[in-house]
């Protein structure tokens, strides 16, 4: 596939991610921050996000499986996850964190478990999508094509 087609594909894919709400303008901001001095900014931040989120999701699963559930701790984790996801523009993950917090405040265990599942689901979705996105970007830069401006 040549550069032009790859570029077109990347643009389409990006548009799809935005229109389906997976990403929001914060992601655009991240892209704008990437320049010559910081060429892999987005990838670095997103990898950081993946690591952090996986850690947080594990902690959440562990906390929710305890006998005595510490809702404060869970709330703190969810808040962190919300913060991270909003910083990278992972819109859907952020949204599901918001409803997670509501259930946490209401100390509703079933609701929390449900939300955890939802968050995990959204996270794995965005992970896949972003990995595809980076893959496309990499292939584009490999063929020498210029990346589309954010």
């Amino acid at each position: 596939m040549d550069a032009l087609q790859l570029r077109k594909q990347l643009i389409e894919y990006t548009a799809e991610l935005f229109s389906e709400g997976f990403l929001d303008e914060q992601f655009t901001q991240l892209q704008q921050l990437q320049d010559e001095t910081n060429p892999n900014f987005v990838v670095e931040v997103v990898s950081l996000f993946f690591q952090d989120s996986e850690r947080l999701l594990n902690e959440l699963a562990k906390s929710l499986s305890q006998q005595e559930i510490d809702f404060k701790k869970i709330d703190a984790y969810v808040h962190q996850l919300k913060g991270s996801s909003s910083s990278v523009g992972a819109h859907r993950v952020q949204r599901s964190c918001i409803s997670f917090r509501d259930f946490c405040n209401a100390k509703n265990i079933e609701g929390c478990l449900e939300c955890l599942q939802k968050v995990k689901q959204e996270y794995s979705l965005i992970k896949d999508k972003l990995e595809t996105f980076f893959d496309l970007e990499q292939r584009l830069s490999a063929t020498g094509g210029s990346p589309p401006l954010p």
């Binding site: 548009a15 935005f18 229109s19 709400g21 929001d24 303008e25 914060q26 655009t28 901001q29 991240l30 704008q32 921050l33 320049d35 001095t37 910081n38 900014f41 670095e44 931040v45 950081l48 996000f49 952090d52 709330d75 703190a76 808040h79 962190q80 913060g83 991270s84 996801s85 909003s86 910083s87 990278v88 819109h91 589309p148 401006l149 954010p150």
Partner: protein, 736 residues
């Protein structure tokens, strides 16, 4: 010679013997009587006439002596005997005369004693009788009190009446006691309660019988004939003589008629009839005190009944109120649910609408920067224009709903009035020149330069009004006049509900926009400010506009304690829109701590901040990385720490700025700000402290201000925002 007196007839010895014996017994009796008298008088303590007794005793003794001496005279007796006899007789005569004379005095006295005794006995009998009467009355009184107590101890109508009958029956030992109540129609009396019959049913008597009228006509108890229809409750067994019957009226008082000491005598009052029958064949009669008892009881019953009626009414009213309360509560909850639903809907829709809008706008602007053919470029521009219009519409709708909720608060700050108007002119001039309209701005000489108010909304109002002028004018000119409203002009008779009160700290800004456009017919003017009401004139149907603009303007103007109105002389004659809003007078400019960073101000914004040392505090690694990248992009030198303690350790006077992410991670971020400030003794040495938070509410802002922070940045932060923030911070050293 001895004188011997011979008796006359020596032969009658029998006669002499009897005489002899009789005299002897007389003497005996005469001697024993005083003994008896003495004996009995001694026994009795009271005998006033002792000396009379003595006299009498002497008389009797002498009489006895005489008769005794007489015994010797039957045979021949000596002269001594004769002398003794004579002496005795003389003495006897004297004493007896004296006694006789005495008795004349004494006997009346004795007789009067007797009469007095009789009199006293009569009196005692009378007193006994009266005592008996009083006792009876007291008994009656007790019965009445007990009856009243029983009657008044309950507030239930049936219990009252039943108890009355039972107690009356018991007290007066009645055979039958019945109560007749008037029916609904008031034309008949119905037997409602009876002593002997448990469930009286079916007995009715027309109310206008003469005997009933008689009873109703007086408040006393009236004796009636046992044969009258109200008294004939039981089938009469032939041989029994029915007991006397008494009837009394019981007034059924209406609450409004109830006066304590004054029974009103109204002819339209309702009465019930109480009938009491003495046991048949007992020959008992109704005594006065019994009748009085009955009357008193009847009055008490009336009182008790009215109390019961009051209670019934109040309970009914209370039940009604409770029902209404429940209904109102339900309605309120439904209304609240509806409002909440609407708010939720709007919030969600707002977000749902905004997100794709942003995507469209973002991507269209991205698209514009790519290589496009002219047609494509035109298409993209149209897309951008339409989407901005749509975005504005969405904002308007959200604003309006928030305005109606009352949840919209004005963003008060200091603003530069002149620059506001200038900006409006800048924005509107291009559009006007396209339509070849002339726009003139007149600011009065005393027009203040600065004021305190909500800049964004004020500009929105002016833009909307001027924009309408431009929209609806095809040719001619638009003139905008702005001035400070004088007190006299404020009292406009056309707007009686508007009471401006200029004070020391505020003034009223008056803006008038005159256009020479199509005008508005007078009957359409009131509809102008209603939501979604479009001007139906065909010439203007395609001018666009959602119809919300003026409605929102009006709400904003009201929020600013002002008034807006439109005048027009008719179609084709142009129209004049005027509004007055209240703005604050700013303090001396040197003291203003928090100048508003107006987005319209054409300030020099630094594009890059080389060498600016920033300390970033954030415990979320991802957001820390993002913010760091942002700052690095702007050329700052960034040191990052991930905890509050590290921050305190690392901060030094090299850092010009500390950016703190306000996470809810237990430790109070405000606290750290205070601690950082305490570190540095001289104010100019310490770094500026800025909070980075996702909260947009005023409370967070106020708290930050309170702990002495220099600014608040609301996430999400774009590059431009951060640029502006850093610029302002460095220029003003403050961001609020």
């Amino acid at each position: 010679m001895e004188c011997c007196f011979d008796p006359q007839w020596p032969a009658d010895e029998l006669l002499m013997k009897y005489q002899y014996i009789s005299d002897f017994f007389i003497a005996l009796a005469y001697f024993s009587i005083p003994l008896e008298l003495i004996y009995f008088v001694k026994k009795s303590a009271v005998f006033p006439y002792r000396w009379v007794l003595v006299q009498f005793g002497a008389f009797i003794v002498l009489c006895g002596a005489t008769h005794l001496i007489n015994l010797w005279t039957f045979t021949t007796h000596t002269r001594t005997v004769a002398i003794v006899m004579t002496t005795a007789k003389v003495f006897t005569a004297a004493v007896s005369c004296a006694t006789a004379l005495m008795l004349v005095h004494i006997i009346p006295d004795l007789l009067s004693v007797k009469t007095r005794e009789l009199f006293l006995k009569n009196k005692a009998a009378e007193l006994d009788r009266e005592m008996g009467l009083i006792r009876t009355q007291e008994e009656t009184g007790r019965h009445v009190r007990m009856l009243t107590h029983e009657i008044r101890s309950t507030l239930d109508r049936h219990t009252i009446l039943k108890t009355t009958l039972v107690e009356l029956g018991r007290t007066l030992a009645l055979e039958e006691c019945a109560l007749w109540m008037p029916t609904r129609t008031g034309l008949e009396l119905q037997l409602s309660y009876s002593l002997r019959q448990q469930n009286p049913v079916g007995y009715t008597v027309p109310i206008h019988l003469p005997v009933i009228n008689q009873v109703f006509g007086t408040s006393r108890a009236v004796k009636i004939s046992p044969n009258s229809p109200v008294a004939r409750l039981r089938p009469l067994a032939g041989k029994y003589m029915p007991g006397e019957v008494v009837a009394v009226r019981v007034p059924l008082l209406h609450l409004s008629n109830f006066r304590i000491n004054d029974w009103p005598e109204l002819s339209t009052k309702r009465y019930a009839l109480m009938v009491l029958m003495l046991p048949s064949d007992s020959a008992r009669q109704w005594h006065v005190h019994e009748l009085e008892l009955v009357e008193v009881v009847a009055d008490q019953v009336a009182v008790a009944l009215s109390h019961a009626a009051i209670l019934e009414e109040s309970m009914r009213a209370r039940d009604l109120l409770m029902e209404q309360n429940v209904a109102l509560d339900l309605a309120r909850r439904e209304a609240e649910t509806a409002i909440r639903a609407r708010n939720d809907f709007l919030a969600v829709m707002n977000h749902e609408m905004r997100t794709p809008m942003h995507a469209i706008i973002a991507l269209s602007s991205l698209l514009q920067e790519t290589e496009l053919t002219p047609e494509q470029r035109l298409m993209v521009e149209t897309i951008m224009k339409s989407s901005s219009l749509l975005a504005t519409l969405i904002n308007d709708v959200l604003d309006l709903s928030r305005l109606e909720d009352g949840s919209l608060q004005l963003d008060i700050g200091t603003l530069n009035l002149r620059s506001v108007f200038n900006e409006v002119m800048c924005l509107i001039k291009p559009v006007a020149s396209v339509k070849k309209l002339n726009i003139v701005l007149n600011l009065a000489e005393d027009f203040p330069e600065y004021a305190v108010g909500d800049e964004k909304r004020l500009m929105q109002i002016i833009l909307n009004v001027v924009g309408n002028g431009v929209k609806f004018s095809k040719e001619g000119s638009i003139s905008i006049t702005a001035s400070v409203a004088k007190a006299e002009l404020l009292r406009d008779t056309r707007t009686p509900e508007f009471f401006p009160v200029p004070g020391d700290n505020n003034f009223y800004l008056r803006v008038q926009v005159k256009d020479t456009g199509s005008g508005i017919s007078p009957q359409d003017i009131p509809k102008l400010f209603t939501k979604f009401a479009q001007n139906q004139s065909p010439a203007l149907k395609n001018s666009g506009g959602s119809g919300l603009g003026l409605a929102i303007c009006k709400r904003f103007v009201n929020l600013m304690d002002g008034h807006i109105w439109i005048e027009s002389e008719g179609l084709g004659k142009g129209c004049t829109a005027t509004f007055i809003v209240k703005l604050g007078i700013p303090e001396k400019m040197g003291d203003t701590k928090f100048p508003l960073i107006g987005q319209s101000a054409a300030k020099r914004v630094q594009t890059s901040f080389p060498g600016l040392k920033v300390l970033l505090v954030d415990d979320n690694s991802v957001s820390r990385a993002v913010t760091k990248g942002l700052l690095l992009h702007l050329g700052c030198e960034v040191t990052t720490v991930s905890s509050r303690e590290e921050c305190l350790r690392v901060v030094s006077e090299d850092h010009r700025l500390v950016i703190m992410d306000m996470c809810v991670s237990g430790v109070d971020s405000y606290d750290i700000a205070v601690q950082v400030q305490d570190r540095f003794t001289k104010r100019y040495e310490r770094p500026l402290i800025v909070a980075l938070t996702g909260n947009t509410d005023k409370l967070t802002k106020e708290n930050c201000m309170r702990v002495g922070m220099d600014g608040v940045i609301v996430k999400p932060v774009s590059i431009d925002k951060m640029r502006t923030v850093l610029s302002d911070l460095l220029e003003h050293r403050v961001l609020f």
